[in-house]
Symmetry: C2
């Protein structure tokens, strides 16, 4: 529909949509930076969505049963900010719009979760929002099954652009959603035929409708500038029995004489002159950031449209039993149950006594057996490595279209999609996701893992086969640099536990962290229990601790993580035999150790002794603990990997790469 027809046939809709468009143009112009084209193109769709379909109450942005609106095409952030402002989200003031993309404003270049109410997730890296939305929808299904449709019954709406749909993660997301038959998920595709480089045809000829249909989606199309047609499409979408793609045909930079329908509208201000012309064409004679009262009021009414539904919901929630209400609130608040710590302590006590020799991936399963019993909010899964990641415990049930009470997800061979879905679940709240793959395939999941960290989401990554210790699968599967990569990422706790006790402790840390994702790097190979004396205290929570102290004068400190702690302990035996007093420091989590007070760190890593670190990974990052923290360059050494691994049985690899007790002892001797 062209502008003239639209203005004529839907004048009220037009002015409301104009308000979005004008704010987007003005804010981008004021910032002299940003993306006006997408908000201008999708304003009609967004207006119909907010006016007639989205369940929300601007005065209660945290309402648990609200529909979630995910702007996957995050560069169009002004669309979202304009909507939040116009519908009356209190924090989204006009000043914030005026300060779009400025230091300290909540209106960042791309929507940042936590900056403002109504930003359900951080988007910008393309495809992530779409993939998060699958997790939102899964969390909703799970909670609805558990708490009933009276208190959980909402949808997740996504606006996705061509970029989102070209990214690989979109394939994983739509495949997962299609298989899961998520009828509460509706994706509005901003089909404007333009990407940064130009027409879509320059790089893609995909028939998106056929593609989504092939993945099990219901597909609808509409004229993205015709409010009646949009309304029809969204109404149909809500009635579908599976996820829905709505192909919204739009024009980027709608109405801009020089830039509409071109890449020129995408990523830079239109310019004052062009904006003036657009205002003319729009019939919008107002100044920058000026919204006439009647339009303000119309939007404000939309913002309060859901107030009654929310009040009714509050009544329904209050009608649940006290226990159920409390549980619902606990779950939505993300609080771990009180029983968790004591249950894990009991496990620790038991394994300290029985001293099993198992891989830490198995230790993790032992911990999960305990955890999943006392934490009904966990939703586990694996990217098609269930039997290897040991992520499935007895009685979890398989989450799927036939069983929404199942708590285990077969994510398929979709590491990135899994990570992003877990982000969505954590953002939705009420469930606590964990998921597994091989540590090496952190590479595939990395885009979403970074967003776990940036958003501060308590997602747990169960990353097994964490070194050359996986053996014969060879260098493509052997992580070498991945611990460094993860440790280099701000706000990630990287745990590499040495035995079952440390693994249980790491799980406790992961499940009680309010706003930090955790990575558990777990061995494929069996490891002895090293923590033979039961301690109530979670030593792993200190990041590093003295596992075995020197006998006699302390001349060496061995630092190790995970499977190499066993090696350090054996090296200590060799050295102590030679009367070289040797301390072993287990360092399951560098990040938590860094947070300890200097006094504790000094106790663990005093000045003086030789220091040798041993880890079956590259040295990168270890200098912090060897040279720093009172260490001395001349008296420090590293035993570990110096390049990629190889394919052979694990014990041979350790020997071949020189990661042995003898090599550690040699290194110490050479430094004494």
């Amino acid at each position: 529909m062209d502008i003239d027809s639209l203005r004529q046939t839907h004048p009220e809709h037009w002015t409301k949509a104009c308000a979005i468009r004008a704010l987007a143009m003005d804010a981008v112009q004021a910032a002299n930076s940003g993306h006006p084209g997408m908000p201008m193109g999708m304003a009609d769709v967004a207006t119909v969505l907010f006016e007639k379909h989205l369940k929300f109450d601007a005065k209660a942005p945290d309402w648990a049963d609200r529909d979630r609106f995910v702007l996957s095409a995050g560069h169009g952030s002004m669309l979202l900010y304009a909507l939040l402002h116009l519908t009356g989200y209190e924090d989204m003031t006009l000043d914030q719009l005026r300060n779009f993309r400025q230091l300290g404003a909540i209106t960042a270049g791309h929507p940042e979760y936590g900056h403002a109410k109504g930003i359900e997730t951080t988007t910008g890296p393309l495809g992530q929002g779409l993939a998060n939305a699958v997790g939102f929808a899964m969390a909703e299904e799970a909670l609805r099954a558990e708490f009933g449709a009276k208190v959980v019954d909402h949808r997740t709406w996504v606006i996705a652009g061509d970029g989102c749909l070209m990214e690989g993660i979109s394939h994983e997301a739509i495949g997962l959603a299609g298989m899961q038959r998520l009828r509460n998920l509706i994706v509005l595709w901003d089909n404007n035929d333009i990407s940064i480089d130009g027409r879509i045809g320059l790089s893609d000829v995909t028939d998106q409708r056929a593609r989504f249909a092939a993945a099990g989606w219901h597909v609808i199309a509409c004229d993205g500038h015709d409010p009646a047609d949009i309304d029809r499409a969204l109404t149909e979408a809500k009635a579908a029995d599976r996820p829905v793609l709505v192909d919204c045909k739009t024009i980027i930079g709608f109405g801009s004489p020089a830039k509409a329908d071109s890449a020129g509208a995408h990523g830079s201000p239109l310019g004052e002159d062009e904006i003036a012309k657009v205002r003319e064409i729009y019939g919008w004679p107002y100044g920058p950031f000026e919204i006439p009262t009647e339009v303000r009021e119309a939007w404000a009414a939309i913002g309060t449209r859901g107030a009654e539904a929310r009040a009714e919901w509050e009544t329904r929630l209050a009608g649940l039993s006290g226990t159920k209400q409390a549980e619902f609130k606990r779950r939505m608040a993300g609080e771990a149950p009180k029983k968790l710590v004591s249950a894990l302590r009991a496990l620790k006590k038991q394994v300290s006594e029985t001293a099993p020799k198992v891989a830490t991936r198995k230790s993790s399963e032992l911990a999960l057996e305990v955890i999943n019993k006392v934490m009904p909010e966990t939703m586990g899964g694996s990217a098609d490595l269930t039997g290897s990641n040991n992520t499935k415990t007895a009685g979890l049930g398989i989450f799927g279209p036939e069983d929404r009470k199942g708590r285990y997800v077969h994510y398929g061979i979709r590491e990135h999609g899994m990570a992003a879905a877990m982000n969505g679940m954590a953002l939705h709240g009420g469930v606590r996701p964990y998921g597994g793959t091989f540590l090496c395939f952190t590479d595939y999941a990395r885009g979403a893992m970074r967003l776990s960290a940036l958003m501060g989401l308590p997602v747990t990554y169960v990353m097994t086969h964490d070194s050359i210790g996986l053996g014969e699968d060879g260098p493509t599967h052997q992580p070498i640099e991945h611990l460094a990569m993860l440790r280099a990422t701000p706000n990630v706790n990287v745990f590499r536990p040495a035995d079952t006790v440390e693994t249980a402790e790491a799980w406790e840390c992961a499940l009680t962290a309010p706003s930090t994702p955790s990575v558990l790097a777990l061995s494929r190979q069996n490891l002895p229990t090293l923590r033979l004396e039961h301690k109530m205290k979670n030593l792993t929570a200190q990041g590093a601790y003295v596992l075995a102290d020197a006998e006699g004068p302390r001349r060496a400190i061995l630092l190790a993580t995970g499977s190499e702690v066993e090696i350090a302990m054996a090296a200590r035996d060799i050295l102590q035999e030679e009367k070289i007093g040797t301390r072993v420091v287990s360092m399951p989590c560098w990040e938590l150790f860094e947070e300890q007070p200097e006094s504790y760190r000094r106790k663990v890593l005093p000045a003086g002794p030789v220091r040798v670190a041993v880890e079956a990974a590259i040295r990168f990052g270890w200098d912090r603990w060897l040279f720093g923290e009172r260490g001395r360059r001349e008296k420090s050494g590293f035993v570990g990997m110096h390049g990629f691994g190889a394919s052979a049985p694990a014990p041979q690899l350790y020997k071949d790469f020189g990661i042995t007790p003898e090599a550690v002892a040699d290194k110490v001797r050479s430094l004494l």
Copy 2:
């Protein structure tokens, strides 16, 4: 087709395929580790392919015009090793098969490029081979356009499993191939309905045929156990005018009474008893690793089937003009043209004189303008950020179905697919790929970038917008940990040039590296030319060098990279003003500096002075240069990032995060 019918109707085919199956069972059993199910399932397809369709000559594995065979489902490595052995590749001896997955054998758990002839690419991480194959096919098209179909006219064949097709990268790969209409690319899908977790339906309901058709592929189906039907399908595939998916319906672990058609056949040995039963069912009364003479001979004949075609090709090649032959050989050998170095030197000289103030992404464009003129083998591109990455130079032309002489690829919003395609191009040889995206989206490309490093492929990643210096797009787009991630990866040269001269030098290093991928981390923001005195020598090739020495007694050394070298220089001005003798060391490439002799490193970083590093990224890894290399913990400091960035104009961010000349000078003073 079931085994009985197959044996009866195609007895000769059957024994040949049996040889593959038996070797796969035996090798996996001997290793007590590996994946027998896939080779057993795909042996019929592979036999028909090698017997009737694949253009190859086992005695000339490096024949430039051979068809490429890519085993994307790399866990089925024994399929490939068996084929190479049976067809007579000299290095693939029976002993190598017996030593499958053992230390020092060329038969690694997953096929490793460079270990044996006939392994065209390293596979294992799923989807990579498929995505490499797109690059192979593109390189072939480009070379055919340039050198003519007489010397370049071959296909790329891929075996891909359900895992490959579920991975996100497959979406990017098939989208790119569909748009490019690569008629020389044929994917054989091992459609066995099984993944590690069980039936595919547990995690996916995608109609793969419809999906590929939606992406512009030609789709064919066949019974993957009926040689006649396979032959029909492959014959049809070769006649298509676009990329082809052949849906090969197969049974994993074909013939295993206990494990066929189940996940049990996927990833572990069948067991001696089961293998005995399978031998019975196969009618294969031979011992482990035993191949009867007639079967050997039949396979050997297949291996030499292409010898005549190759000889004819040699004649055709010899028929080209001497210049063209020499150029073809140079290109296939991956040798940079002699003119390259002098052309870049001329640019260096010019910019040292004119001292432009441009972003290093623009510097890179200036370098590419020079390079692309003298290196006809470059194929550039960008993941839909052409104007931002500055990767397109004048006159390159757009590579596409209508113009195979174009040298610029619009990869679309497909960072991972681009990286994997570039790996494929580099593996194919004859072209030298470079491609751009934002440094932050290394996250998306990471899976393929690691394989560039592991395989030692001279691919160049043009990663712009390399810090908070990109400004308003905010933390989702601001790399903080990515330099550390890349530096942590073995065999990657990470360049962060400070100005146009260093950028030109970095490009020279990248384009002359025989077996190391390079990442160029480039600024969005303008930077002054710092190398004002022209030097013939490539200083960047030394990794780090003294850009400005102290005046008077040397009391401080500032270490910096890229955009922060300017800040270090300004800090030096402040400090020198105060008579604090300050050296500035520019460190554009840590890896190359590490390779320098100790004597050079000591000259650049002598013991004694205070050291302060400045980089708009996290500290992770810098301790090597601050505390190590004759440094002292007590006299070292770092000015940089400590967490994620923010959305605001770049100069404000630098100020807000305290990355300023004043902060550097303060840090030095506090350490003196």
